[in-house]
């Protein structure tokens, strides 16, 4: 059978029923019927449908985690698990919260971009830029597609790796994502290929990309390099209150992958993400993770160092304001000799916000010569805010070097006094100190993100005095 779906023509040899027979009707709640409908609407191969259904069973069996941020506010029955892109548009510009509109103004976001970010429009007109980027990548043999499209065009490649780094059994929200995933990115880089420009999810001009249950899979063959960037510093208004994404990355021998995220979801969102990289011998994985928005975030980018000489780095930034609880951190598992990891976490709490660093550093028997350094610093901007640190260090190989340090501080009186004596008003002084505090992370962001982030912090600080 030949079908047209999202502009592509495909041959289906899997005996699947015609998706056009389904009358699309959005409904709340989760059931095998909803999962089958999602799979049918996308015209997926039967193995993916089976995968989703098995994951649904796992999701239903697993209890909610008893640790971490407070998830009692999530009502699984009251959620739409699949909506067409047009269904999740906000009616009009007026429906977008005024705080968000004002931030766009102050950050100088171009008008066309604002509508897209706010969910008022489904498309963002950067087709021209996207088009030429696609050509350059195709010449190198690089595949960069939406996950749905990748499954349709390269089913065998996807099947080989999908769910191998984060299986549905891993945790309740990975199981949920595995059952109802939609959107996300697929990146494949052939051996020895270096992708010079960062790949940005932002350019894929698809509202569904900013969806609830994104699934991203990146495969870097031996000796390759790619930098993937997602998100933006400007606040993104989401009607969906539950986001459970999964990101799987495979970094083969001698390859390097950098994955940069800046998340600034609106304050109604529960953002629960499982991000994990399998790192082979002599390979390098770098996570740069910026968490600004959401009501609750639970996210622990992980590096599983499986080959000799593998290296992993996690640079994590969290900024929690009133009503927010950002529980973020990192995991580094050393399962091979001479592996190394670096974890730097910087968190800032203000106005009663709460940040927690939660991490695991594990050196397994046999991982001799491994080295790890973990540093988590927290900055409290007022007496109402809270900061926690919950690291675990599990060392079973004595021929290793593990160092961990954590500090909690506030903006010092002397620092403030010095800056004010130089004629800098108090709120500007505070934002200078905060920007300096987060500098080790920010300097690793692409330039335009770094600039926007600094501006955003200045904006936040304006309200912090008086």
């Amino acid at each position: 059978m030949k079908k047209s779906f999202g502009g592509l023509a495909r041959n289906y040899q899997f005996g699947f029923s015609d998706p056009e027979k389904y009358v699309f009707k959005s409904e709340k709640g989760l059931s095998p019927k909803v999962v089958e409908k999602i799979s049918a609407l996308k015209g997926e191969p039967s193995w993916m449908r089976e995968f989703r259904l098995r994951a649904l069973t796992v999701f239903e069996e697993k209890p909610r985690p008893t640790w971490g941020a407070d998830l009692s506010g999530i009502n699984f029955a009251d959620i739409y698990y699949y909506l067409r892109p047009t269904d999740r548009l906000v009616g009009s510009w007026d429906a977008v919260p005024s705080t968000i509109r004002r931030t766009y103004e102050r950050l100088g976001i171009p008008r066309a971009e604002r509508a897209f970010l706010a969910g008022v429009k489904a498309q963002y007109e950067s087709e021209v830029v996207y088009g030429s980027l696609k050509e350059a990548l195709a010449r190198q043999g690089v595949i960069f597609l939406g996950m749905d499209e990748a499954l349709a065009r390269y089913p065998d490649l996807v099947r080989e790796y999908f769910g191998t780094v984060v299986p549905p059994q891993d945790n309740k929200f990975a199981a949920l994502n595995s059952a109802v995933w939609s959107g996300g990115s697929f990146v494949y880089v052939p051996a020895g290929v270096r992708v010079a420009l960062p790949l940005q999810a932002y350019f894929r001009i698809n509202a569904r990309k900013m969806g609830q249950f994104e699934r991203t899979l990146i495969i870097a063959e031996e000796g390759s390099f790619v930098h993937y960037v997602e998100g933006c510093t400007a606040p993104v208004y989401s009607v969906d209150s539950l986001h459970a994404a999964v990101v799987e990355i495979i970094v083969k021998r001698g390859a390097r992958v950098r994955y940069t995220t800046i998340q600034n979801w609106s304050r109604n969102v529960y953002n629960l993400v499982t991000k994990r990289a399998w790192v082979g011998a002599e390979a390098v994985m770098e996570w740069v993770d910026g968490n600004l928005g959401s009501k609750v975030t639970m996210k622990y980018p992980s590096v599983y160092l499986m080959g000799k000489g593998a290296r992993g780095e996690v640079l994590s930034l969290a900024y929690a304001d009133s009503g927010q609880w950002l529980d973020a951190g990192a995991k580094a598992i050393h399962a091979a000799p001479y592996t190394s990891s670096l974890i730097i976490s910087k968190s800032v709490s203000r106005g009663g916000g709460r940040t927690s660093y939660r991490g695991l550093l594990e050196i397994q028997p046999g991982a001799e010569g491994s080295r790890s350094h973990v540093r988590c610093d927290a900055l409290l901007l007022d007496p109402r805010s809270r900061s926690d640190t919950y690291p675990t260090m599990r060392v079973s190989e004595r021929r290793s070097s593990v160092e961990h340090e954590a500090t909690v501080t506030r903006v010092g009186e002397e620092q403030l006094f010095y800056l004010r004596s130089r004629g800098i008003p108090e709120n500007e002084a505070i934002s200078l100190v905060v920007n300096g505090f987060v500098e080790p992370i920010v300097k690793n962001l692409p330039l335009e993100y770094a600039i926007e982030l600094n501006r955003l912090i200045e904006l936040e600080m304006e309200g912090s005095v008086g």
Binding site: L380, T389, E403, T407, V408
Partner: protein
């Protein structure tokens, strides 16, 4: 100072409350495990009053397949402004098979405080061992010197004489 020596398989729970303004207290724990010992330490310093000052130091050695889990919580509540605390946890693994798990937790609800921790797990410095042996000491004697030095540095100079016999006992258990 609250000083505790933990030898062999034991589970110990120690909580130091800082309920009165200005209270200062130091907690020092040294430990040794061998064979298939399992040591579990649950330590916490809870600061409820302002201007309180604490310090938690944990140091010990493990040989054979012994294992330790150290939970060290420093909690500074809203009313405990101007307080400070610091946790330092270190474990020496003398043999392959030994395992240390350190969980230094911080829960901070006041902003004008000083709270930090550091943790390290490793083995005896091979160069230091070599130097001592090149001076004619046996492997056992060299290890003994280094382990004793590692353990008694858990406290500052004036206290070392007071804990000397406990250090000796812990060292003897590990190396004896």
């Amino acid at each position: 100072m609250v000083f505790v020596a933990v030898i062999g398989s034991k589970t110990k729970q120690i909580t130091i409350p800082f309920a009165k303004e200005g209270k200062e207290e130091q907690l020092v724990v040294i430990f040794a495990g061998k064979g298939s010992d399992r040591i579990e330490l649950n330590l916490s310093a809870i600061h409820r009053a302002p201007r309180t000052k604490g310090r938690i130091t944990v140091r010990g050695v493990l040989r054979d397949r012994a294992a330790i889990r150290v939970r060290g919580l420093i909690k500074i509540e809203k009313n405990a402004q101007w307080s400070e605390d610091f946790l330092d946890g270190r474990a020496l693994l003398l043999d392959e098979g030994a395992q240390a798990e350190i969980l230094p937790y911080l829960e901070i609800e006041a902003d004008a405080v000083r709270a930090s921790h550091s943790a390290a797990v490793g083995m005896l410095d091979q160069e230091q061992l070599f130097y001592l042996r090149s001076r004619g000491l046996s492997e056992r004697q060299a290890q003994g010197l280094l382990v004793a030095g590692f353990l008694d540095r858990a406290v500052a100079d004036p206290w070392r004489k007071k804990i000397a016999s406990a250090v000796e006992e812990v060292k003897a258990y590990a190396l004896g």
